[in-house]
């Protein structure tokens, strides 16, 4: 089903039950994974954090389990990829639509994008995942990479 999403999601860039102190903290953990795996340049982490401050990516899903999708400009990306973190305790992200509103976020997708026309499918599948409260709840409960693959597969 969500083939493009699973293809983009490197198992080495899935981190479950992260204990993160802040939005910056979780972005850096995932950005570092993407850098180690060869998806992004060393400049990526700082660029995503700067962009998150100016143009936040928290998406309100109407409850306590909200999602954030931090990303940045293509110049910091080597090849398209996706990193996923679930958080042991939610951290606060600002709402994309209203930066003054803070949202507790439990699932973070850091996206490395360089060509929107080629990554449409992956982006649509991320949106599809976000729009399923059952999948989001199951992702938060996932204990292993296999659980994640099963959920998104």
């Amino acid at each position: 089903m969500a083939e493009a999403l699973l293809n983009a999601l490197d198992p080495g860039a899935i981190v479950l039950g992260v204990k993160a102190a802040s939005d910056h903290d979780v972005i850096r953990i995932l950005a570092n994974r993407l850098q180690e795996l060869g998806y992004v340049k060393p400049s990526f982490a700082d660029a995503v954090i700067a962009r998150e401050a100016a143009l936040p990516t928290g998406l309100p899903l109407g409850g306590d389990n909200n999602v954030a999708v931090p990303h940045t400009d293509p110049e910091h990306v080597l090849k398209p990829g996706l990193a996923l973190a679930t958080l042991a305790e939610p951290v606060m992200f600002s709402n994309m639509e209203d930066a003054d509103e803070k949202l507790p976020v439990s699932v973070v997708f850091v996206m490395a994008l360089n060509d929107k026309d080629k990554q449409v499918e992956m982006l649509q599948e991320i949106a599809g995942t976000i729009q399923s409260p059952a999948i989001i709840a199951s992702l938060i409960a996932a204990k292993s990479i296999e659980d994640v693959s099963r959920l998104l597969g």
């Binding site: 999708v69 994309m96 929107k116």
Partner: protein, 95 residues
């Protein structure tokens, strides 16, 4: 129907959430019998791109007084309020 209208989709980077929203709106409007031209840009580029567009749909806050109708919505990302947002877009395009 009248001339096909152009909708400018904006988000922070002009490549991520506006891509999802542009495809979702284009498909949903097609089901309602409305065809649109779509364009995408960064939120910071909207003012320079707005002259020949009929409507702007954004996932992030835009400057005020752009001189064209603007709908800011996360409905096509979160799924919440999608039908309402589509109604608003359709109404703006019928004006």
């Amino acid at each position: 129907m009248a001339k096909q209208k152009t909708v400018l989709f904006a988000c922070g980077t002009g490549i991520a959430t506006s891509t999802v929203v542009a495809h979702a709106v284009e498909d949903a409007l097609k089901e309602r019998g409305i065809r649109i031209n779509t364009r995408q840009c960064k939120a910071t580029e909207v003012a320079g791109q707005i002259d020949d567009v009929d409507l702007v749909v954004s996932t992030t806050q835009l400057p005020k007084d752009l001189g064209k109708p603007v709908i800011t919505t996360l409905a096509f990302l979160t799924g919440i309020g999608k039908a309402d947002a589509l109604d608003k877009i359709e109404a703006a395009l019928r004006d």
